[in-house]
């Protein structure tokens, strides 16, 4: 993409990633330099690093409301956590059954992992979501059979922001004695999470989505659940995941999750107000707009709309030239011929799904950012519609 160096850049793509909080960076830095010891070494430098890793583990435990430190494992990010939870569980528990339940709107880290397991002989049910992108606890209950070993359901959708009824699903899974994993990569720091109250058995998270560093995440695994290793190697993580501890990253994850989960209600209320203002102004000032996702059971930072008659990538390029970063689920941004599976799953026809725009807010987003988006967006949409043969046809039919 081409950036204009003169304009101040506005990040409207926090769902893709966030900036590293400078305070968190400050906390991480000594672990690259002075305290570079291997956290598995027995001598002083190693013990210092190990203590930092264990302090971070406590920060993650506290943020999730988990009971024990041993329930938190550090990984390389959300993708590894999802892979480990699903493949590791399937591997270790296939004697009990071969059926897995998930949804048709999961992140590819879950979707492609489940498709891989299908090739290995597992049976996977992909629950269809409603028009707002959610599944119900009843759907989960109805899909569970005596062969079901695992339910994996997205906490909050990375594209359209819809939040699933996780506590209700957790209750159903607990009653039916099926293990429940949730990909909470987008939810941590935006929505209060309590693995005990919500009956969550496994949970994936990733630091770079809440102003922590990239390439580090965690997997919560309730005590008593057996997982096969995904990363075979040394004795780290009590022999469950090899590889030298990424001390700076893990320290950064701990510091970031502690900050991100402080005062979620106030932070979310501020972002939700900006979010709703964006949605209301977009639908008020631009014609032929469809709002995707649930209007209230929704991440406080997520706006997702479709503009009819235009295509998403050309929209993104125009925004980019004016200093605004955003994302789209159109085919031409995904590099495939199909628009995003999420937009198709909520029932949008292809031509409308191609015109999608996701704006996602973050801690540094301001009223000025929202005003700037609204200053340029209506003009961009108008310009692209003037170019569009579909819009010309629409006007002709309307006037005929």
């Amino acid at each position: 993409m081409h950036a204009m160096s003169t304009t101040k850049r506005i990040n409207m793509d926090h769902a893709a990633t966030t900036y590293l909080d400078p305070e968190v960076l400050g906390i991480m830095l000594p672990w690259f330099t002075e305290n570079y010891g291997n956290a598995s070494s027995v001598y002083a430098e190693g013990r210092t690093a190990r203590q930092a890793v264990e302090d971070a583990r406590e920060q993650v435990r506290a943020a999730l409301g988990a009971k024990a430190l041993q329930e938190i494992y550090f990984t390389s990010g959300g993708t590894e956590s999802d892979n480990w939870a699903i493949k590791g569980f399937a591997d270790a528990n296939q004697r009990k059954g071969n059926h897995i339940i998930t949804t048709n709107v999961e992140h590819h880290a879950v979707l492609h992992t489940c498709q891989y397991l299908e090739k290995k002989g597992f049976e996977v049910t992909y629950l269809p979501v409603d028009h707002e992108g959610r599944v119900s606890a009843q759907q989960v209950a109805d899909a569970i059979t005596d062969r079901t070993i695992l339910v994996s359901i997205l906490f909050a959708n990375n594209e359209i922001g819809s939040i699933n009824p996780i506590a209700e699903i957790g209750k159903v899974c607990r009653e039916r004695k099926v293990v429940f994993h949730t990909d909470a990569v987008q939810a941590v720091g935006s929505v209060p999470i309590d693995v005990e109250a919500m009956n969550i058995d496994m949970l994936s998270l990733s630091a770079h989505k809440f102003n922590g560093p990239k390439g580090v995440g965690a997997l919560y695994v309730r005590k008593g659940i057996r997982l096969e290793n995904l990363i075979h190697g040394g004795a780290q993580e009590r022999g469950h995941r090899g590889s030298t501890y990424n001390t700076p990253g893990i320290v950064g994850l701990g510091a970031a999750i502690q900050r991100a989960t402080q005062d979620i209600p106030a932070k979310s209320a501020r972002l939700a107000a900006l979010r709703d203002q964006l949605i209301n102004r977009i639908t008020g000032e631009i014609d032929h707009v469809i709002v995707n996702g649930h209007r209230t059971e929704r991440l406080p930072n997520n706006v997702n709309v479709c503009f009819r008659f235009i295509e998403g990538e050309s929209l993104l390029l125009n925004l980019d030239m004016l200093g605004i970063s955003a994302s789209s689920g159109s085919a031409c941004t995904s590099g495939s011929l199909d628009p995003s599976h999420v937009l198709l799953a909520i029932g949008l026809p292809h031509e409308i799904a191609h015109g999608s725009l996701r704006l996602s807010l973050g801690v540094e987003s301001t009223q000025e950012d929202v005003d700037r988006v609204m200053e340029v967006l209506p003009g961009i949409v108008r310009k692209l519609r003037d170019l569009s043969p579909l819009y010309a046809d629409y006007l002709q039919q309307k006037n005929a």
Binding site: S314, L317, T333, G335, P349, L387, A392
Partner: protein
């Protein structure tokens, strides 16, 4: 080939040439479909086998818009035979290249132009 758009692509994308539709066009061609995400419509005016005017409308990505814009520029004032010789490879060269994943979008400009010329020939019994 580059993973990003060249300056020429961005130029045609930001200031597309020959946008619109010719009234009482001699030939109109529309290709692509909304399902795959790119639709292109080209209309031409023809005098003595020469394309005297050409306009386009495109629903699609940056590459689709830029290739249709540059293609109209390349065939304006050309004979029908010259225009029929236009390939997507020539369009891509004129734009200084396209990312690999965007090559399929550039085929549409060639196809839309061919369709417009075929329409002209059919209408005028040629």
């Amino acid at each position: 080939m580059s993973e990003m758009y060249t300056q020429q692509v961005m130029d045609h994308f930001t200031n597309p040439r020959n946008v619109g539709e010719i009234e009482n066009a001699d030939g109109v061609g529309q290709v692509g479909n909304a399902k795959c995400g790119d639709i292109m419509r080209i209309s031409i005016k023809v005098e003595n086998d020469v394309i005297t005017d050409v306009k386009f409308r495109t629903f699609g990505c940056g590459a689709a818009i830029a290739t249709s814009s540059v293609a109209t520029e390349m065939v304006k004032g050309k004979t029908l035979d010259e225009a029929l010789a236009l390939t997507n490879q020539m369009v891509i060269e004129k734009l200084g290249g396209l990312p690999d994943v965007k090559i399929h979008c550039s085929v549409l400009a060639e196809e839309a132009l061919h369709a417009a010329i075929a329409d002209y020939k059919a209408k005028h019994g040629k």
